[in-house]
Symmetry: C2
Subunit: 211 residues, 2 copies
DNA sequence: TGGTGTGAACAACTTCACAGCG
DNA sequence: CGCTGTGAAGTTGTTCACACCA
């Protein structure tokens, strides 16, 4: 396996396949062909086969892919066969929603620490059980809890500080919800969830359509 | 201007430029060169120039771009020189956070209608002022209010229904937060905000790094 | 001089088309 | 016979390099 050569878009699609397969498995579907899976995920059938072929030969010619087996393999590839510990910074509206979100634990992601700088929030306990700590305690708690993923849900002007604190504290990857481009060390793993940008895309296409 | 030839990635980057320019404008910076702007947004300087050149000649050779003017032009291109009316479907944790989010109105996006199917929620009024309506009333309200963008924040298993209802009611674009690939008519404008997928990306890269 | 605008080279990703195998 | 796996072709997006201009 030559990992370096795998398109990042392939990884994103694997995640989609995994979801669809989960549903198929749940519905007792045993086998699926690339055409069907492709349709469910809105991609080209050849793309599905090529994506999977990067990691091995999971299919059976003339038949398709065994749902259970393929799901297992994809989860293994994505690293979803373990639980991931996350820390949240910024417990406003969005942060609260994330902590309360049921899908995360289902997928193996868990918030084990929650931070904020607002003295009015620090010390309180969330409905989901976590206590809110001050950012100053981040370093200790993150190494104690062996947190690997940091999630930023602060206002934009706090996000860079939050990122620095998380990185200093030793997290290995960041998921950023703040609408700002965060500067991280070369090679550091970061993903942005940027719904303002997505909305702007919609606005653009709506505007163009009329022309 | 040959709009059809513009890469969708360009539109996404315009959104980033717009944000950075907003900040620069706010800090009284008058002029910026492609290098600086590129660095702030984490892209290649040539990319910045090429992106902008799709839409006109906004720069001055030997000088750079005038911040105020460029910001204005980009907003015009993206369609951000008007207010956009949105309708939300699904007022759970995430939906509530979205409605309460301050950035939307700042950017010109406004939730003018909120829907759910839970009888326990319908009829209540949100802190932000909107009344929660049953999905059955969607068609009437969306046309009355001239809503153009639908936002889906339901659980995955409700999302396709929500989409159908929104489309039937006449929205022209959808922003989907549910972790599922929604089927829409050919050419319909839809964007997904998919943080599960982003997390899976992190998990993958964290897993690979060790190998 | 310094930074834009842009054709041309390059790189990345996607789709086609078909051989090969169960 | 049907569907996978995959080289080759096609498409799309990015970067280079430099002419050109304030």
């Amino acid at each position: 396996m030559k990992f370096s050569k795998i398109p990042s878009a392939t990884i994103t699609r694997l995640s989609l396949y995994s979801r669809s397969l989960e549903e198929l498995y749940h519905n007792d579907v045993k086998v699926i062909a690339s055409d069907k899976l492709a349709q469910k995920c809105g991609v080209n059938p050849a793309q599905v086969r090529k994506d999977l072929a990067y990691f091995g030969e999971f299919g059976v010619r003339g038949v398709g892919y065994f749902v259970k087996e393929l799901l297992f393999e994809i989860k293994k590839i994505l690293g979803l066969n373990k639980r991931w510990k996350m820390a949240l910074v910024g417990i406003g509206n969005l942060g609260s929603a994330l902590v309360a979100h049921e899908n995360f634990p289902k997928q193996g992601y868990e918030f084990v620490a929650v931070f904020d700088i607002d003295p009015a929030k620090v010390g309180h306990r969330l409905p989901s059980g976590q206590k809110i700590y001050h950012v100053d305690e981040m370093s200790r708690l993150i190494s104690e809890q062996e947190v690997e993923i940091g999630v930023i849900a602060t206002p934009a002007n706090q996000a860079q500080n939050a990122a620095r604190a998380l990185i200093d504290a030793g997290v290995k990857a960041i998921l950023n919800f703040a609408p700002i481009q965060i500067q991280v060390p070369e090679g550091f793993i970061i993903e942005n969830v940027d719904f303002t940008v997505k909305l702007d895309n919609l606005a653009y296409h709506l505007t163009m359509e009329v022309v």
